[in-house]
Symmetry: C2
Subunit: 532 residues, 2 copies
Amino acid sequence: MQNQGETGLSRRDLLSLVGAVAGSAAMYQAMTSLGFASESTYKGPIRLEGDAKGASVLILGAGLAGMTAALELRAAGYRVQVLEFNSRPGGRNWTLRGGDSFTELGGATQTCGFEQGLYLNPGPWRIPYHHRAVLDYCKRLGVTLEPFIQLNHNALLHASNAFGGKPQRIREIKTDFQGHVSELLAKVTRQSKLDEAVSVQDKEILLQALQSWGALDKNYAYKANLISADYRGYARDPGGGLHAVPVAGEPINLSDILQSQLWRYLRNFALHEFQTTMFEPAGGMDMIGKAFAREVGDLIRYDAKVTRIQQGDGGVTVSYVDSKAPAAPQLAKADWCVCTIPLSILSQIQIDVGARMKAAIDAVPYSSSIKIGLQFRRRFWEEDEEIYGGISYTDLPIRQISYPSNGYNRGGRGVLLGAYVYGGANAYEFTSMTPADRIARAVELGSRIHPQYRAEFENGISVAWHRVPFTLGCAGSWTEKLREQHYDNLCQIDGRIVLAGEHASYIPAWQEGAILSSLDAITRLHERVVRT
Amino acid sequence: MQNQGETGLSRRDLLSLVGAVAGSAAMYQAMTSLGFASESTYKGPIRLEGDAKGASVLILGAGLAGMTAALELRAAGYRVQVLEFNSRPGGRNWTLRGGDSFTELGGATQTCGFEQGLYLNPGPWRIPYHHRAVLDYCKRLGVTLEPFIQLNHNALLHASNAFGGKPQRIREIKTDFQGHVSELLAKVTRQSKLDEAVSVQDKEILLQALQSWGALDKNYAYKANLISADYRGYARDPGGGLHAVPVAGEPINLSDILQSQLWRYLRNFALHEFQTTMFEPAGGMDMIGKAFAREVGDLIRYDAKVTRIQQGDGGVTVSYVDSKAPAAPQLAKADWCVCTIPLSILSQIQIDVGARMKAAIDAVPYSSSIKIGLQFRRRFWEEDEEIYGGISYTDLPIRQISYPSNGYNRGGRGVLLGAYVYGGANAYEFTSMTPADRIARAVELGSRIHPQYRAEFENGISVAWHRVPFTLGCAGSWTEKLREQHYDNLCQIDGRIVLAGEHASYIPAWQEGAILSSLDAITRLHERVVRT
């Protein structure tokens, strides 16, 4: 590395150089020594090289997939037009603020009553650090990010039939489970019951590791003392001045943790897609959609409901009506079409594609999901319970309560995510209620976890994704079997049409899937245009 | 809880009411059901009730302990004066920015060359969510907080003699260790080797829990597959469009993890004092000191070096000289004195206190610590390695590299904490070097973890706390034995003098300790004033 010196070579340039000089084995060696352990499917800003020959592209949908395609295809020399059902850009990239109003299937209209500065992201709400495409567009488009707190050790785990219905602190369940597991394993290790699996040299180190990791005492026991308290928290915190000695609390025993099933939630903090450091755009997720629209807004025809997609040798013709005042269909034409309409909607539109793609379009069910935002007159979770951001999990139908990852410690009003149900019967149950009943139910259930709900609740808003006219569901719900049968057929270019969106990715329901799918689709489309 | 209704009762009011009506057992029950699992030593804003009788207090030191005392004692009716050695408020609550300059013991002067907006917090740099006193003052004084990322799963663990010196991702070490431990315990559980310790009913649930928690497959094995990859990350991430299938990587085997000793760092992410959600003030830690100074700045005499502390029946007399232009001592007098001067300094000042307090003052050694801030021309840790905030640990003398918990993903320059050594030989070794040599050494060592250092480094600044004239060390370094012998003697009021600061707390080196110590000291002082 010594020849980097002051040349200001970028890491990518450097790798290319190493590759050119020493071959790919050396490059792999350099890559790993520079710290890339894993390969991302995002390779940095797309380069659509070669002549677009003045071709035109019609993009259906101004969500992240559609706007990514619009941005990059225009930059590559295409003539681009976008049709969008809503009166705003973003699609499921959406934020509700005070004064916003929307009508769901069935006709119920809700108007958001949140105080200025407070919001709910009804769709995507968090960005993993390894979603490199989303992050790169945020960087290029100037979207400010702030940490999204997934794991807050002081948030709660709640099981209706365990611990007398009393919520437990995550830090206690997490530490106590790990402590007991470590104690058990240390015991059998010392009893030489692991001798087949662990070598003599490793045995002593394993014991040290379990002691350090599991907060065990010098006898490898996990119990009430200042060692476990240093991990799980104290019954009485250390203080200042006189009478400041800390007091340890009693760990929860293993059997109670196992029976409570609360251990099931620990994986929600360990999974790669939820690992630190996660992000959210400051001010609301739609800052991303708005940033895209600053670039490509001039290409978008809003309030355009697609009713028919035709293609032939000469190009693609799409019929659409004004979604607010449906009248005679209008026509939009182009050489090519990138269609990002959710499959739940697209399967109901007549489209000229082959049988395989049509079967794929029709095959993928959409998951049900609801989110409910609740405004409270004070941030009691912070003021009373020292919960700053993060998520409490429960077996109640609301499933989770998420605390805002912003505006910490400042007092005043706050908006909670008072229910987030993804899939399953509870999502359908909430979806079937009136908006007012959903709110009432979320407040009633939530008050079993936070009794302050009753006194502090002000207003709420709900989005039940199966009733959202522009998606009729939350996200493509693939199974392994469906993927085998249909996925490649869905993603192939069919004549002059290619599909994109989270449904055409291996990262369903995430914005990264939408963008990566779009980049892959337009790359292949462009290759075809350049070749022909 | 039903009678809370719309009364807007605060939780504290409600608890008092429950206590008054139903007695303290009911109140404890109510407290726990409202979510307080642990008792904090901070009870909310201090109430110094009763007549201060126009008494005067001289406070020595305008760090957080001193300014807390100044704020609260003036509010309680005292006449307050503060003497401060430095030309700024805050003491160890300190932030270095471009243009700042300071001189260490030995005469070396450093001037910070950071770009505008970048900074180093040489002293405290993070605030646990349970440091309620610090958070409450931040709230009252309008200090904006943002999350401090302690655990970033994608940051690195590095051991010079393991894995060929190649840093490992925290997520891999963490997941693989937990996976192997789960596999081992599942194995002995299934072999009925745990039958004494785990009941038959619990055994099945334990296996399920280990499977979920440890990413085990259906045979309770931890190995390369998409189950473990969902936790530890993939060799190839899932993508969008065609050829988007994710690929799992090979876990690191248990023996390699054990031998590497990298498991030792996992506790740094589990300890209560480092648990999410941690905070830092937006813009630098000194935002807290500056916020205090907006309130009490008018009471502070800066550049005042205390040389003698006398007390008698009539009051306290403190001699001081101008620290920038020492001349004849000046005198400050008051009825009472709150002395927050670090013991490392105070032990060298003649002070009229009893033998027990004097012995306590002399007894406590101060820990050695250094921090080095390094500016780079680009945030390569984010751009090349997807590390956003958090800390990498190493066995190299720099011990850790911490990435900024702000300004994420925006490009441009960045400042790393390029070394943070607390205690031990490495801290002394760095302290003994010239500032230029410290920087050169940190860059050389850090480049073994991030080779980009060599090309991207611009400038740096170091604070070696044993050479800082106003503390001569980082923080009071108590042992259990020292506490037994001296702690209570240190905290007692001696005539008209009481000591405060992190050194007079059970939370040494933390700002919370300084504030709680101060609140306890002035509470007792005030009681004495009211009584006499």
